[in-house]
């Protein structure tokens, strides 16, 4: 545990990526392969202990220390590992037996684990840094400035291998990644995975920048498609068995049992899941009724239909075709579609014809009023399907946002990076003489603005309930948002999609903002 805690501490205290890479590589060379593998799993958030839940650990700690003081401390610090390691006030005795890293992993995985006893003993017998690393290991969510992508890139550097090759097998492997590490150390071949049971990390787009990117777009080199406002999904099928994954690789098949087709050979498709019948999309709010319903009722299935609009194909007739270019893949998608998918659950994303950029811009501008099209996708015809956000291949040109003025009502301290600032805000608008909440926003402001907002909250607090402060209703903020929908779940009757700060109107009086019914008539038709 000592080496692991030193590694974590070195990483969190090291602002330079070059040095971080070096620190990780040194560690990998130092420890044995199994320990290295579990550490890689932990740092990429793939090490899960099924008996351990954050709330249970919190409960245990709160039963051992003053629970009010714990809550106040956690509210202030914002990081559970920092809070627990610091609030624990036993000085460790050196005499006690210390468990090795691998022993700890084994114990945490065992079925007859006495979590309370183990956690308490560990905290009693280890120093501050080890306690901190232990809680991080237990609960994941490291926040030490080394993302999963960064760790994978570091592995590529460690083994002098191509990082796309690591990504291709990554989701099919599991901790402690012995085959992967052996291959990286040139002690074994390229790892084999079960292709039909593996989510293949999606290819993502970078944001389109009108100033920089416009002159690069041409009908010779690019195709344009609509960006639909649903959820991106990956469909796998082999031996007539379907698996459906969300963008993060979560298996969501059981929520959408109506998505079926037959294919004996492995096929992997990429598309957008949308609510709607006869391929006419409905709002994201409709789709939301289906998300996270693991066993949807027959009634729900009847009321809210879904379909998938296909963008791409990764495997075709059992073969990996990610190294074919987009035009070839689109052709194969058409082939596959006409053979297997002519049902009411799939259609193909249309390609928007254009002969110059001006035409494209006109279409883009017309999207302002659209409810379901989030923008345009501009894809290089020769792009291979590469996991992650590769530069210069796919660009998303998001529809221009809409704006409303709203009044700050409540503030809550953020977690993590902003834990000492009031950074999560609730906004409302006037409905007759009352102010009703319409949106929460926690992004879009600068660091300096955050400091000012924090001061505003502290100086204008009326009451506080737990971590939430209610403030004097006198600050107006112009919020940007992507779209507005009707919603019965909210008191205001509306829901905003992706609200964020646009401008803080320190100057604007609250009585000059639009009323709720005025907002409804402007944005909802």
């Amino acid at each position: 545990m000592r080496k692991f805690s030193i590694l974590l501490k070195q990483l969190i205290f090291c602002p330079s990526n070059i040095e971080k890479t070096k620190v990780i590589i040194d560690y990998l060379n130092d420890v044995d392969i199994e320990e290295a593998g579990y550490t890689v799993a932990a740092l990429t958030n793939n090490l899960k202990f099924k008996h351990i839940k954050a709330y249970k650990v919190k409960q245990i700690i709160k039963s051992k220390v003053d629970s009010t003081l714990f809550d106040l401390s956690y509210d202030y610090v914002g990081d559970l590992a920092d809070t627990i390691s610091l609030i624990w006030n036993k000085k460790p005795k050196n005499s006690h037996k210390k468990y090795s890293f691998l022993e700890i992993i084994t114990i945490l995985n065992s079925n007859d684990l006495d979590l309370e006893k183990f956690v308490t003993d560990f905290l009693n017998n280890n120093n501050l840094d080890e306690r901190w690393a232990f809680i991080k290991l237990l609960l994941g969510g490291f926040r030490i400035g080394a993302s999963a992508t960064f760790i994978k890139n570091t592995l590529a550097e460690y083994g002098r291998k191509n990082k796309d090759d690591i990504e291709k097998v990554w989701n099919g492997l599991s901790p402690p990644y012995l085959n992967l590490l052996k291959w990286l150390k040139d002690e074994g071949g390229y790892p084999k995975i079960n292709l039909n049971e593996t989510f293949h990390t999606m290819m993502l787009a970078n944001s389109f920048d009108l100033n920089k990117d416009a002159n690069k777009i041409s009908p010779e080199n690019h195709i344009a498609e609509y960006k639909w406002d649903g959820i991106r999904v990956q469909v796998l099928c082999e031996n007539n068995t379907i698996k459906l994954y969300s963008r993060t690789g979560e298996n969501i098949s059981s929520s959408f049992p109506e998505i079926t087709f037959n294919s004996r050979e492995l096929v992997v498709l990429d598309g957008e899941l949308l609510a709607g019948k006869n391929f006419i999309p409905q709002s994201f709010g409709e789709l939301q009724k289906r998300i996270n319903k693991k066993k949807p009722s027959k009634k729900l299935l009847d009321e809210t239909s879904v379909f998938i609009r296909l963008y791409d194909i990764l495997f075709f007739e059992g073969k990996d075709i990610r190294n074919e270019n987009l035009i070839v893949r689109k052709q194969k998608l058409e082939n596959f579609y006409s053979k297997y998918l002519l049902n009411n659950k799939f259609d193909i994303s249309e390609i928007i014809p254009f002969s110059n950029f001006q035409q494209l811009e006109k279409i883009y501008k017309s999207l302002y009023k659209s409810k379901f099209k989030e923008g345009l996708m501009l894809k290089r015809k020769l792009s291979l399907y590469i996991s992650g956000r590769k530069k210069n291949l796919w660009l998303k040109w998001k529809r221009a946002p809409k704006y409303i003025d709203a009044i700050l009502m409540y503030a809550q301290r953020g977690h993590g990076k902003r834990s000492s600032f009031y950074s999560d805000f609730t906004f409302g608008v006037f409905d007759n003489n009352n102010i009703v909440p319409i949106a929460k926003a926690y992004s879009g402001y600068s660091d300096e603005e955050l400091v000012k907002l924090d001061r505003f909250v502290r100086e204008n607090t009326i009451t506080s309930f737990g971590p939430v402060r209610e403030v004097n209703k006198k600050l107006v903020v112009e919020l940007a948002f992507d779209s507005m929908q009707k919603s019965n779940r909210h008191k205001s009757g509306i829901a905003l999609r992706f609200p964020r700060f646009h401008r803080i109107r320190w100057d604007k009086p609250v009585n000059e903002t639009l009323l709720l019914n005025e907002i409804k008539s402007e944005f909802i038709n």
Partner: protein, 317 residues
């Protein structure tokens, strides 16, 4: 804080007629008051910072020397926070009120040692008023700086430390550990450090950093105000290891946010244990909490059957 019986303020943030100043930190000592009552050191440092005429009249009193105004006794006691820092005891026949100001009870060779004062009402600071704040021994923290110099022999170690108090304490701690190399100072620290020297505090060989130095500071220590670690000044140095001496550095997420590579948990304020011990040992029956994280201390007092309330002063914490 306004004391009605005296018609005077303690650490006022705006110019007033009569001010009692606990210590010379900028958030407590402001210029342009009419009359200032404080320790000799506080007055001298105020003059260095703001000029000889930063108040119309100064009255210096010794620690423990009681003066009477309008039937109210005023006595200053050492607060252990920085050189010249004081707690203020106000008393009449019926009542005793102690205002701690900023304080710490841990030993510090660059400040007069904290003195515990028994009182009926205690107005205490609460900067580190959460049980997560337990400052380690400063000597252990300084050891980390010394081993870092040995490990990163190519890097200039720039240590962020407040110009008044913290900077001199860090230097003194280094000397105590036997570090006898020249310690370099950012310009903003020089004047006040000279005052410490003049007061007989031993800080060894010091030198103000000049343009010519910056390339010859491999493995050396430079002390600078924390703000200098973020401004253009620091870019002049070719290979820097960023260090910061502060009680906040005990929270690792904080260290990460501030992009500090070597945190040194050295504080001029009382930690949780010092705060709670002082509250108990003062035997106060009423406790008012100001200046910092008051909610946890208030809860703790009530749990220990002490009458406590938070006092909100209009000031940033």
């Amino acid at each position: 804080m306004f004391i009605e019986a005296l018609n005077a303020y303690i650490d006022p943030i705006k110019p007033v007629d009569k001010a009692i100043i606990t210590h010379a930190h900028a958030d407590h000592a402001k210029p342009n008051h009419n009359k200032v009552l404080a320790t000799k050191d506080t007055i001298n440092i105020m003059k260095i910072r703001y000029g000889e005429n930063c108040a119309k009249k100064f009255q210096a009193i010794e620690y423990g020397e009681k003066i009477n105004i309008n039937g109210l006794g005023i006595t200053l006691y050492p607060a252990g926070h920085i050189l010249g820092s004081a707690q203020v005891l106000l008393e009449n026949k019926k009542n005793k009120v102690l205002i701690t100001g900023d304080y710490k009870t841990k030993s510090d060779d660059t400040a007069q040692s904290f003195e515990l004062v028994k009182t009926e009402t205690l107005i205490t600071e609460a900067t580190f008023g959460l049980p997560i704040f337990k400052h380690p021994e400063p000597a252990e923290e300084i050891e980390k700086l010394l081993s870092s110099i040995k490990l990163f022999t190519n890097k200039c170690h720039i240590v962020g430390a407040y110009a008044l108090g913290k900077a001199q304490r860090v230097i003194s701690l280094l000397r105590k550990k036997g570090y006898d190399d020249i310690i370099y100072l950012h310009g903003a620290i020089e004047k006040i450090t000279n005052y410490y020297l003049q007061r007989g505090i031993k800080l060894g060989k010091l030198k103000k950093v000049t343009k010519d130095d910056v390339h010859n500071l491999k493995g050396k220590i430079v002390i600078a105000p924390p703000s200098a670690l973020k401004d253009k000044w620091v870019r002049k140095f070719p290979d820097v290891r960023y260090c910061l001496a502060s009680g906040w550095m005990i929270i690792k997420q904080r260290v990460k946010q501030s992009k500090i590579e070597l945190p040194l948990v050295i504080s001029d304020h009382a930690d949780w244990n010092e705060l709670t011990n002082t509250i108990l040992n003062s035997k106060a029956k009423k406790i008012w909490l100001t200046h910092g994280r008051t909610d946890a201390l208030e809860y703790w007092c009530k749990k220990n059957n002490l009458n406590a309330m938070a006092l909100y002063l209009k000031r940033d914490d």
